[in-house]
């Protein structure tokens, strides 16, 4: 658990990398531990921003890693593990959003009940205590969903254009264009506040 130093990202299939890829595909517990160690924070953070700090982020993070273990033998190494996991997480979020839309009435009632009984801590609350970050997050929230995701992936998660394109299943050009447009729009919302 403590040994997080090993880099398990495999963008190019050199001989050594191929060996590493084989180890990942075998799904050995020690390799899985390293993957969790390296990527759990990033995946959780991504899902927190997608779900607006909802407790659903925790469930989706668990589901993401469960799916990853189930299909680790299919991992081809074309994308880095980080991108691969982000892609799974994004799919999980889309699926959950669809099912939430289907069961909106039931979910709303459950939320009201749970809010009354359990005090759920939003992981974004701590950040929102900073005035600038709160304003920034509010401005981000005004963006379109596609722009919001691009901001999260590029500026918060640190993914490259190519990696983002792989996660969102888009062309690199589209992602680049959206990434260049989103901060300008964000700035517009922010300067509008002054």
């Amino acid at each position: 658990m403590a040994a997080c130093a090993l880099v398990v990202e495999i963008p190019v299939l050199h001989k050594a990398k191929r060996k590493e890829l084989r180890r990942i595909r075998e799904g050995r517990p020690e390799v899985c531990e390293k993957i969790v160690c390296q990527h759990h924070e990033s995946i959780y953070r991504f899902l927190v921003y997608l779900t607006d700090g909802d407790s659903l982020a925790e469930d989706l993070t668990q589901e993401t890693f469960a799916s990853a273990w189930a299909s680790i033998s299919h991992y081809k190494g074309r994308a880095s593990l980080k991108t691969w996991l982000h892609r799974i997480a994004y799919r999980k979020f889309i699926d959950s959003k669809r099912s939430l839309q289907r069961h909106t009435v039931v979910i709303d009632r459950l939320k009201q009940e749970s809010a009354a009984s359990v005090d759920i801590v939003n992981p974004l609350h701590r950040l929102m205590s900073d005035e600038h970050l709160r304003l920034l997050y509010e401005a981000m929230y005004k963006l379109q969903t596609s722009e919001y995701i691009v901001i999260v992936l590029h500026y918060i998660q640190g993914l490259s254009y190519r990696e983002m394109a792989q996660v969102l299943d888009e062309s690199v050009e589209t992602t680049k264009w959206r990434t260049s447009r989103a901060p300008k729009k964000l700035k517009t919302f922010l300067t509008g506040r002054i």
Partner: protein, 151 residues
């Protein structure tokens, strides 16, 4: 529209002489560079310990079954074996049809040419027509007394 309003407000702030340090700081942070820096600060989210424990506990002890990539690997060998076997079979068939049965069949054809299955009466009687050449092929005469022609 919002952009224009924002720009106007920023201009107003710049033109004011009595701009306070706080206000100056406030509009400065909205530049693109500082925006990126602030966005990076949004990455500071802590993962709950319970979630960490759950994730580590969910790591499978057993190795997963080999995916189709592993299973498919024997297919090239099977394809190669199949193709080789088919090629050998075709070659064998060609050899058999060309050489295996060629001797007897040629012989048979030669036999037919040498000894036709039907003879003219003139051939049978060892007679000749005109200049003494056998006339079997020129004037075939069917012997109607043969059993095949009785019906």
């Amino acid at each position: 529209m919002a952009d224009e309003q924002g720009a106007e407000k920023i201009k107003d702030i710049f033109n004011r002489k009595d701009i306070t340090v706080a206000e100056n700081q406030e509009h400065k942070w909205a530049t693109l560079k500082s925006l990126e820096a602030h966005l990076r600060r949004l990455a500071e989210i802590e993962v709950p310990e319970t979630l960490k424990a759950k994730l580590f506990a969910a790591i499978p002890d057993e190795q997963p079954k080999a995916g189709p990539k592993h299973c498919v690997r024997w297919w090239p060998g099977a394809w190669g074996f199949g193709a080789t076997a088919a090629a050998i079979l075709v070659l064998a068939l060609i050899l058999v049809t060309n050489y295996g049965t060629s001797g007897p069949s040629r012989k048979l054809i030669a036999d037919i040419n040498d000894k036709p299955s039907y003879y003219t009466l003139a051939d049978q009687n060892n007679t000749s027509v005109g200049d003494g050449e056998p006339c079997g092929l020129q004037r075939p005469i069917v012997n109607l007394n043969e059993p095949a022609f009785r019906y």
